[in-house]
Symmetry: C2
Subunit: 416 residues, 2 copies
Amino acid sequence: MNYKQLQTPSRTIMTPGPVEVDPRVLQAMSTPILGQFDPAFTNIMNEVMEMLRELFQTKNKWAFPIDGTSRSGNEALLASVIEPGDKVLVPIFGRFGHLLVEICERYGAEVYTLKTEWGSVFEQQVIIDKMKEVQPKIVAVVHGETSTGCMQGLDILGKACREQDVLLIVDAVASIGGVNIPVDEWYIDGIIGGTQKCLSVPAGMAPITYNDRVESVIQGRKKVEYGIATEEEFGSKRANMIRSNYFDIAMIQDYWGPRRLNHHTEATSMIYALREGLRLVLEEGLEERFARHSYHEAALMKGLEAMGLTIYGDPACKLTPVTCVVIPDGVDGEKVRKLMLEQFGVEIASSFGPLQEKIWRIGTMGYSCRKENILKVLQALEAALIRNGFEPKRGEGVQAALDYYDVPSYVLIKEA
Amino acid sequence: MNYKQLQTPSRTIMTPGPVEVDPRVLQAMSTPILGQFDPAFTNIMNEVMEMLRELFQTKNKWAFPIDGTSRSGNEALLASVIEPGDKVLVPIFGRFGHLLVEICERYGAEVYTLKTEWGSVFEQQVIIDKMKEVQPKIVAVVHGETSTGCMQGLDILGKACREQDVLLIVDAVASIGGVNIPVDEWYIDGIIGGTQKCLSVPAGMAPITYNDRVESVIQGRKKVEYGIATEEEFGSKRANMIRSNYFDIAMIQDYWGPRRLNHHTEATSMIYALREGLRLVLEEGLEERFARHSYHEAALMKGLEAMGLTIYGDPACKLTPVTCVVIPDGVDGEKVRKLMLEQFGVEIASSFGPLQEKIWRIGTMGYSCRKENILKVLQALEAALIRNGFEPKRGEGVQAALDYYDVPSYVLIKEA
């Protein structure tokens, strides 16, 4: 068979990830590669660690990506701290809470859950009370739940975990780089970010950071591979070894640390991409970036409501970079999405499980989170609705967004 | 801190991976991304599957990459077939045999090993006899052992495994795309390839393929995630579930198959890279590509020997794309490597464990496997040896390679 040169259609990607990649990141990926132990490359690895510390607002020693898509970061952190029989408490308020449960169960944890209706989150005190009752080793919780567009408050949970000597592990895949997550200030012990969402880097890496409390658990389970171990390490501790080799953070540390002990071969071009993505975040500034995400989120919501649509979920816990919209009665949500994609090249997302065919999800993340995209998605959605049997307030959506954009952004950002 | 724009020094990478990435692959990675369920993207996924079948010379239904570096492919296949207590036989002839043992142990297998001196491989009958004695569920074996530069014969092992109803899983990370591996003809049940070696694609993906014998084991352990399961699937079989979520091939299949059930978000830019890398392989032709690898390997070996150096390992089992060289007595191998890198921008590798400081490893893989690179590595090595106390036959290495290259390549390839 004859395979043609890669050619992709032009797209405006307004899903909750993957989103459009910043052109500077795309460029960085076409840089020729370096060998994995070339000092020019290990310097880049060190720079990425430094920049990740800034992104996560932490003084943690360890901050590096796991070489896999976002959930590989969740699995690496959980696999490295969970020993069979450990109690883990997971508050569930959407699909990705279930994923955390799933991972914990597979690694032999005794999992306790808290559940709340999709579209809402937990009062932190409810989690704290349950934690005191269960006395788990770990609380694992999603911060930004993309399946429902909800964001769990975390500002007092971490301190309570610390007081009870419980590890707090946070899935911030959808929120990192788009909303404020001061890791140290919130006493988060381990956290996982995503690349293909608010960082606007392609999927394929999962940046994590963790503190010395997590590290001490991990070091207690350390094992060095036969093929590269020194005499003393050969046949080292193994009874409680981490069950995955690929996700064994004790070994990955030795690769990212000064010993540079080979574990895998770092994904060179993806590291270039992550470095450029982080550089863009730091150039923009964290506060400015969070403000930009809120700014365009507001424009989108004003537009959707003016059109006559309903935002899904409790507004008090809305996740800034993901706006969920109730699919109007009688409208086939998939037909609307298809028309938007095929005729306008604009992509929005559906949802999962109980919310499938009930809501659309519109992302305002990273490089995709900009004025022209907000206006495009409102226009394409209006046209697709009209052709699928729903009568919106014609023209009002875009006019509401334009009215909003008429006010200088620094005024709005100050007010927010 | 102020981070500068990414800028990398020019390098001639002659290690056994990662090697230089083909410029067309670098270009493909700078293509804007598509959403993961965009038909334009799922078509690309399907094309990659087709091309991988050609690479692996198989009619298998399943052929796709695991989103992680090479060892993630080993772990995914092994984790998906090994249930705790399963017997696995691993013949070890270098570091990566130990890695297979390590992964199997972590997933609860009862591992039996065969060992031979590093630098040699096994008569296949020895493995077959041991298999008959142990009666394992799986034989897991490395094909191209980069740590020693040796290649294990596999042409009769698979048939013997099939007759005993044993699964044969092969690590072909270092050899795929560089030497002939007819997967179906050799009765290989599951196999893992690497991207950053003979395919000249960056590290970060591990293409695998497996047949229906492997699939039936995997399907017997299937579990669908809570957050996306249908009513009937909810709470489906779990007693013998695969221990890793990320490496659960039963679920990954549903993402690559017609159901397109979300597992992870495919690593978009890496898929673009892999697609272009595979397109280059198929344009060149498998036979022609294997011949090219042998052709330049011969030039390198002639040059090294003419210089007065000794090739390490049993020549009968030499791995075509990796040439190991004995570090002469009294020479500091790391100083030689450092000088080559710093003064000439040429990178060669050291080795692991018992071979550390004993041999250098020179790769002739993929895009790096070309005449100008062979000549450069010989020149840089000669100069570095002279400055580090070893007196080579000055000029002879490059002259021997040039003599070889003077004969038209089609004559040499025909003779081979």
